[in-house]
Symmetry: C2
Amino acid sequence: MGSEGAFSAQKRGSGGLPTANAAVNGGARSRAASLLPRGRQIHKTFNNIKITILCGFVTILVLRGTIGLGNLVSSEADAENQHLIEETNRILAEIRSDKDPTDPDDGPEQFLGLNDTFSLGPRISTWDQDRKVWLEKNPQFPSYVNGKPRFLLVTGSQPTPCDNAIGDHYLLKALKNKIDYCRLHGIEIVYNMAHLDKELAGYWAKLPLLRRLMLSHPEVEWIWWMDSDALFTDMVFEIPVSKYKDHNMVIHGYPDLLFEQKSWIALNTGSFLFRNCQWSLDLLDSWSPMGPKGPLREEAGKILTANLKGRPAFEADDQSALIYLLLSQEQWMSKVFVENSFYLHGFWEGLVDRYEEMIEKYHPGLGDERWPFVTHFVGCKPCGSYGDYPVERCLKSMERAFNFADNQVLNLYGFRHRGLVSPNIKRIRNETVAPLVNVDQFDIRHAAHHTTEPQS
Amino acid sequence: MGSEGAFSAQKRGSGGLPTANAAVNGGARSRAASLLPRGRQIHKTFNNIKITILCGFVTILVLRGTIGLGNLVSSEADAENQHLIEETNRILAEIRSDKDPTDPDDGPEQFLGLNDTFSLGPRISTWDQDRKVWLEKNPQFPSYVNGKPRFLLVTGSQPTPCDNAIGDHYLLKALKNKIDYCRLHGIEIVYNMAHLDKELAGYWAKLPLLRRLMLSHPEVEWIWWMDSDALFTDMVFEIPVSKYKDHNMVIHGYPDLLFEQKSWIALNTGSFLFRNCQWSLDLLDSWSPMGPKGPLREEAGKILTANLKGRPAFEADDQSALIYLLLSQEQWMSKVFVENSFYLHGFWEGLVDRYEEMIEKYHPGLGDERWPFVTHFVGCKPCGSYGDYPVERCLKSMERAFNFADNQVLNLYGFRHRGLVSPNIKRIRNETVAPLVNVDQFDIRHAAHHTTEPQS
């Protein structure tokens, strides 16, 4: 390339250089070429080689980037794994994108306007009486069993796989944790994975769910909503229901934060009790109007931020809306018990590092800061992509809380976890030919049974 | 670069070209330069530009490959997501690699030798009597409730996250499915995520678990083992326990496959019942010797392959071992009920494509091929990396089975899934001011209650 160009330049040039006539034979041409100084020839060749090498290098880099040439040398297992991941993702996308073109609900999203009214359902005004009559007619479905009111624990998660792969694993562990507590205390569980009302999704989804469950389970006396990121950490503690015989809602919080500071975190709706009664239906009806997504929720968010201390600017959430409702409408507070004598909700950050100290000094059954009833991983969001805390801190802490609780369950079987971060267990009691001695001593239900609260 | 080289060549050259003396001033030098034909100058410049561009391009490509320069232009979200994945993987690796150097159990793996004897625990020989005495002393923990024997459903999965991310999501859904069935039928659940015996891991892990649970839960009459990949698909059907009053084990299978063909798939240990009694403890003791990993399990595998029709060559599994045990030791079969009048275990492949047909023609409560009680996803292994069937087929089928079952649960609440592959639901009954009418009509427990079998 270079030499040709130089040659042509020579031909074109007119000042004092020997020119090679086109008609001159090959010999003349090579004679002309040999007229180039040897150094320049070397230099030209060197240039050519440089450019060739550079071009070759660039080609390789580009190929590597585009067709993954580097992958040809990875193992077959990697290729299969990659294929598995791609297949899985494709199927997930298909599942997630399900739309029914004939379904009017599946049309373009339509938000309620600011002047529209939202309703969870037709107003029911005789629920207490209706329920009482039903219970009398159905003695095989009593609302009190062995002197204890019937509880239904409600929790749930999104119907589709978590954005973060590890999220589903922790949802699974958190569910096992709830199954264990509820088995020990005779509580039924509903795990919801459905959106009952497309207006009220996300944290608002619990409202239509609570209504639907209350009306479908008249035998249930108390509905207990619990977030999927909350774990039981005291397997012995029982809710002291007799305290609440004159109340219809029990929620963890601090009265001074609520009434004096009007703080947006005065109460926590991650774990609360709701009596199955008319009052609760009415509260839900008053609570829900800030929920419907779109302009209603946006505007409501502004009102909440303006009125509640410390609240950042974002759309209305169920917790802020409840606080605002209780502060602005007088009729509710008399039936709401703001509980903080035990951790119906226990914010994880101040608790998870103290488990070893708790094991050393205290024992299950206390339910408070000495041995928290519930450890709630607010802000960790393992199912989503963006939590408010470092991932490592969250995952390790959830692992610790899970194992701290699991040890209390495994105790009956003679095992415990090797460490609070370990999924593996070790034996703490040998097998015996008299296992029933251990049952009498270590079964939590026996301990709970002997301290049953008198019926309210 | 090029021009300098050419210039030096000119200087060195001696044939016929005007040379520039080093002492010549700038003017002379530029005069010498202007002596180069204009075309060659352009050509040289062009060469230089080419090389500069090439070098610049290469630099960018290399940088992009090494320091991920390309990421600077991708969204912040991608970078955060990548970080999240890396963090998660790092933490998982840490959790999985937990080892306690002070723990003798954590030393290098030691297998039992072929001449060693394995035992699940010290031999208990008076369990029936011990249990009877205990039940009499503890009337608050009866083994029969409302005329029905007390069941404990046992299932579980590995303590660490699945190899395949989607696996945990399906474990979660399968657990919700079991929670729903068990809530409707008053059955308690134990979800095991621990290895009770390091010799017996994998499919053998259920043996020490069954023993441990029997001995720790004397109030339980029947223990029901169910694999994590088995789903309830008939939410109404109840196990006809009176059929089994003279039996201690109920397992799905086919007598001719068992006795005549000695087939390795004559029975399925993915879903079976085990009465809490001495006979069962004895069976476990006879069943377990083929289980301990290492030479024992390997050798046992060879015996099983040699004796059971169709069995591939691999280490001993619990199902083949049970079949072999029942065929080679006479004393067991009289108490084993080989059940195939309903799908205590229903192999998924022949069932999942027929759900729409079932919905059209039949109704829940049949439990057999018309409306299978249990659909069992043998071979799909969503938690692992390598299933025996295409991933898409498995995931879609599990989704369909889950929704087919979930529809039966949602029916009480007035909803169903939009399609058998859809996680989304639609309303099938309007909200009403008389919800208890629907409870009476649609609550499965009311239907089950009215058809309670007489106590055996």
